[in-house]
């Protein structure tokens, strides 16, 4: 098997037994990136040679989403406004990865400021799905997902505010996890929606996901939302046994608009787990249908505030109009932001500003925060009757490039099954569970209680051991 098609645990076994060196493995992966990236555009910058800064147990080639800071390396959030920005410090997850021995291969493409579900809003051009280059890889971490699916990296980090890890993992046939809010430090992550954002792992299989989560999880005093509870050894959760576990199936996630092939694959996956000894029960999450509306109020409100810092004063882009419009400094702010942000970023900044503005705060923002409470209570109630909830990750497989760009609302609705986990702060994982008739991957989403990542990994691992999907690779 090609090195670039292998998982990290296979490569690590190869290194241990002397079959391959970490340098050789990294150069094979970099070679693959050079061979295919012109077609995927998954990676927007890469190194000439992978360097392993520190010795550690996991010398694995990894790519980082373009919103994770690395000291002195260009970090641009897929936006023109951060043109030339080189952070003076590294993210906590980067420090942890380097300490584990990992080598950074490059930077993954993303929707501008993570605003999107298709990686089409990137200032660096759209990324393409390795299973069908005419289709999107999902988003906003589409570059991370496509890179792992195409063998351009063994691992990738992404971020998930409303599904931005799980939906692209589903579209690209890889494993992607959004950990519990507070599980992974966001120090050094460029913020989008601060009550929702979480960094998480993309890998080719569940065992790798446990390994990478173990490296990046944990308390960090530099992130006040980071939670100070011990990190379990997630690799201990890789047990092929679901007996005694109860899984809830929410009827609100099997609705009109879900593609028949997706519904079929997910229902087959539920059967596999049932046959393996799990108990399957119906559960109800009645406020699901309000989640998208809540999300696009809360997330844009937070984004409009977080993105106020990009104003041409300190770093990145600075532009001034030819003729005086208001005052020199206000003209500079307004022109820099007009030229630096793309249309979707402008749309979300304006929407967020609108829902927070005088006279509309109570009607939109406060109301959305209250409905968010109801959505969270849905999950609290459901988890009294089950250990995990199973659903499709997305209602469809990967859609065509350009298919949804003219209609922002239809793009937003593609996140309908992933948004609730962010609003409730719970962990969720997407794993491959089959293909549609066009040979596009389908994802199974597993959700669990806060800090129950071990349950997610156990269920995902047991399913994976019983099915062949994770062994399939896109042909490029």
């Amino acid at each position: 098997m090609n090195v670039y098609d292998q998982t990290a645990h296979q490569i690590l076994a190869g290194i241990k037994s002397g079959v391959i060196t970490k340098e050789k493995a990294a150069s094979e992966v970099l070679g693959r990136l050079r061979a295919v990236n012109a077609r995927t555009n998954a990676i927007i910058r890469h190194v000439d040679q992978v360097s392993f800064v520190q010795d550690g147990e996991c010398p694995i080639p990894i790519v980082l989403k373009d919103n994770i800071c690395v000291t002195g390396s260009l970090t641009t959030c897929g936006s023109k406004i951060l043109e030339g920005f080189r952070p003076p410090y590294s993210a906590c997850v980067v420090e942890k990865l380097l300490a584990s021995g990992a080598g950074i291969v490059g930077t993954a493409n993303m929707d501008e400021f993570a605003f999107g579900s298709s990686t089409e809003t990137s200032a660096y051009g759209a990324a393409h799905n390795p299973w069908d280059l005419e289709r999107v890889p999902g988003g906003s971490s589409g570059g991370s997902a496509a890179a792992v699916a195409a063998g351009e990296a063994v691992w990738a980090l992404g971020t998930d505010t409303g599904g931005s890890i799980r939906q692209p993992a589903s579209f690209c046939g890889v494993v992607g996890m959004k950990p519990t809010y507070g599980r992974v430090s966001r120090y050094g992550l460029i913020a989008f929606g601060s009550s929702l954002d979480q960094i998480g792992p993309f890998t080719k299989d569940v065992a790798d996901n446990a390994l990478l989560l173990k490296i990046i999880a944990g308390f960090d005093g530099r992130d006040s939302t980071s939670v100070n509870i011990p990190v379990p050894d997630y690799t201990q959760s890789l047990v092929k046994d679901v007996k005694g576990l109860t899984f809830g199936i929410p009827k609100e996630y099997f609705i009109d608009g879900i593609e028949p092939d997706v519904e079929f694959a997910v229902k087959e996956a539920i059967e596999v787990l049932k046959k393996a000894g799990a108990k399957i029960v119906p559960v109800s999450l009645p406020y699901t249908e309000y989640a998208v509306a809540v999300y696009y109020i809360v997330a844009t409100a937070e984004a409009s505030s977080n993105l106020a810092r990009f104003d041409g004063v300190e770093y990145g882009l600075r532009r001034t109009p030819g003729a005086l419009r208001k005052t020199p400094i206000i003209d500079m702010y307004e022109e820099t932001r007009a030229q630096g942000f793309g249309d979707e970023a402008k749309r979300r900044i304006m929407l967020g500003t609108y829902v927070l503005s005088a006279g509309y705060y109570d009607a939109y923002y406060l109301k959305a925060q209250k409905v968010r409470t109801l959505i969270k209570q849905d999950f609290d109630r459901a988890f009294t009757a089950c250990d995990a909830i199973l659903s499709p990750t997305a209602p469809t497989t990967a859609f065509r490039i350009g298919e949804k760009t003219a209609d922002p609302l239809s793009m937003y609705l593609s996140d309908i099954f992933t948004i609730p986990a962010n609003l409730a702060g719970i962990p969720a994982i997407s794993i491959p569970c089959g293909f549609d008739k066009k040979k596009l991957p389908v994802g199974l989403q597993i959700m669990a209680k806060p800090f129950a990542e071990e349950t997610l990994l156990r269920v995902a691992y047991a399913y994976e051991q019983l099915t062949p999907w994770h062994k399939e690779r896109a042909s490029l």
Partner: protein, 94 residues
């Protein structure tokens, strides 16, 4: 109803210069999304508390000790324009 005038007003609050030829497109997008959001109005939430943080975590403080941080030089290393150890911007006060 979100019209061009409202878009220009929100653009101003957001410090975004919106060209006139783009304002009507944005007005339609914002109107569509806000219309969609009105489905929340069908719910009675008068007795529901708002959620701004999903975990029951409050008053997170660290010990008040000085630790190494960026030097002025490091912080300004990638400044767009600088002068005497400060960021330089266009004239603010006439």
């Amino acid at each position: 109803m979100v019209d061009i005038k409202i878009v220009q007003y929100i653009g101003g609050l957001s410090r975004l210069h919106i060209e006139n030829d783009k304002a009507s497109g944005f007005a339609k997008n914002l109107e569509d999304i806000l219309q969609y959001a009105q489905k929340l109005d069908t719910l009675d939430v008068s007795n529901v508390k708002p959620t701004s943080h999903v975990l029951n975590v409050e008053n997170v403080f660290r010990d008040d000790v000085v630790t190494p941080s960026l030097t002025q030089e490091e912080a300004l290393a990638f400044a767009i324009e600088k002068h005497n150890g400060h960021y330089k911007v266009p004239k603010v006060i006439e």
